[in-house]
Symmetry: C2
Subunit: 243 residues, 2 copies
């Protein structure tokens, strides 16, 4: 059965039928997780590669003070680093946000796939480079954007990623994140997130309610976010054509 992972990678490189079959087989080991379950914790020995097939997850770190910083969201189709096995210890934790189906690819299988299929390799590396670009974009956000811009920017990112997933263009998308989680991701307090959201709502730009994001003024949102459409966009479109 074709899954989100295969669908995503197909968009990043031209996969042969064989490749698709290989990928499907490699992700047949699926486990169900409830919301808020750690898949792996900081300090653990890295295990297999995790692939999110449905639901949301996130990477995060806990600081000595007890505060938490989320460093990335993992949506269906996303996976953790292919060569994670090289390292001897996890430097962050991964946790489900909603209930989720997670496939695990043993390290040996992963390496075998990379050896056999250059196309799969290219797709996975492309995915990783996009992830890195996203990390850098987050650093830029945290460093140089105001809280309003930061919220707006994250919403643009998530909206585009979700849209890429479903292939549908609609004003509203499901966004299963609490304000507390947003705070942890954006380096702000929940209270302030709440006020920022109210501001954006009252400005008629976007609103979040009952776990769903509705963008009422797309151009306005991109504007406040200072969102660079290139950053996820061009990339996702054209990688295929290079080879």
């Amino acid at each position: 059965m074709i899954n989100a992972f295969v669908r995503k990678l197909s968009g990043l490189a031209d996969l042969a039928e064989d490749d698709v079959a290989t990928l499907i087989a490699s992700t047949s080991q699926v486990r169900q997780f409830a919301a808020r379950r750690d898949l792996i914790r900081e300090g653990d020995r890295p295990g297999p590669v995790f692939v999110v097939l449905s639901g949301w997850a996130c990477r995060y770190k806990i600081l000595p003070s007890g505060t938490r910083q989320v460093t990335s969201f993992m949506l269906p189709g996303d996976s953790c680093d292919l060569h994670i096995g090289i390292l001897d210890e996890m430097d962050h934790s991964i946790q489900t946000i909603t209930k989720a189906s997670i496939a695990t690819i043993p390290r040996a299988v992963m390496e075998d796939m990379l050896d056999r299929s250059p196309a799969i390799g290219r797709a996975l590396y492309a995915a990783q480079l996009i992830d890195e670009a996203t990390l850098r974009a987050w650093i830029v956000s945290m460093g140089r954007r105001s809280s309003v811009e930061r919220v707006a920017h994250l919403m643009c990112e998530l909206y585009l990623r979700l849209q890429g997933l479903t292939g549908m263009v609609s004003a509203s998308v499901e966004l299963p994140v609490s304000q507390l989680l947003l705070a942890d991701a954006l380096g702000m307090t929940p209270v302030h997130i709440n006020r920022v959201l109210r501001g954006l709502r009252e400005a008629g730009v976007m609103e979040i309610s009952r776990r769903s994001l509705r963008i009422t003024d797309p151009a306005g949102l991109v504007q406040v976010a200072g969102f660079d459409e290139n950053y996820l966009h061009r990339r996702l479109k054209t990688i295929k054509s290079i080879y």
Copy 2:
């Protein structure tokens, strides 16, 4: 001639003599750059892989407002993503900080090396994973650490990286960064950086003067930084032993 790049990779995997020779040959194309020269700019077509042999460089992004955010420092031995060529467009710029010798490895040569030597591949992937860990650490810093902690944390990071480079343990290291550059890296204003540095100096923890960092109270610095020794450390030590 053995260079910083080879030295770094040797620390990350067991390289055969052949591998070392290959790496040395691949980095024989060296160009000299003055300080503050862009090696490549956001929007450019990615070219060859850049390797810093001497001097410092950084990756950065400019925002619409004109402010700048540095997303990472590149020290001797550091290189940009191996598969950078997969993407069609740079999402950030790379600039020298000091005058620097930069080797360029053409894409074809890079791919050839990865094909031929699994050891080189492992070393390069390990390097990349460390870079990613550093990106995540920066996000954590920007999101959840106070300005004092943030400055202290970056100093810990740079000190450790420099120490790893030279192999020497000394209280002071060369740090060719202006307060303005620190501000761009830490998401703060130069004025505030200056005040924070004064605070740390007056507390007898560390001081920066004439482009050199002197750590007067290492334990104290690690303490204020909330620095997790594991994050660069364990990693750099033990990767080799896994294989």
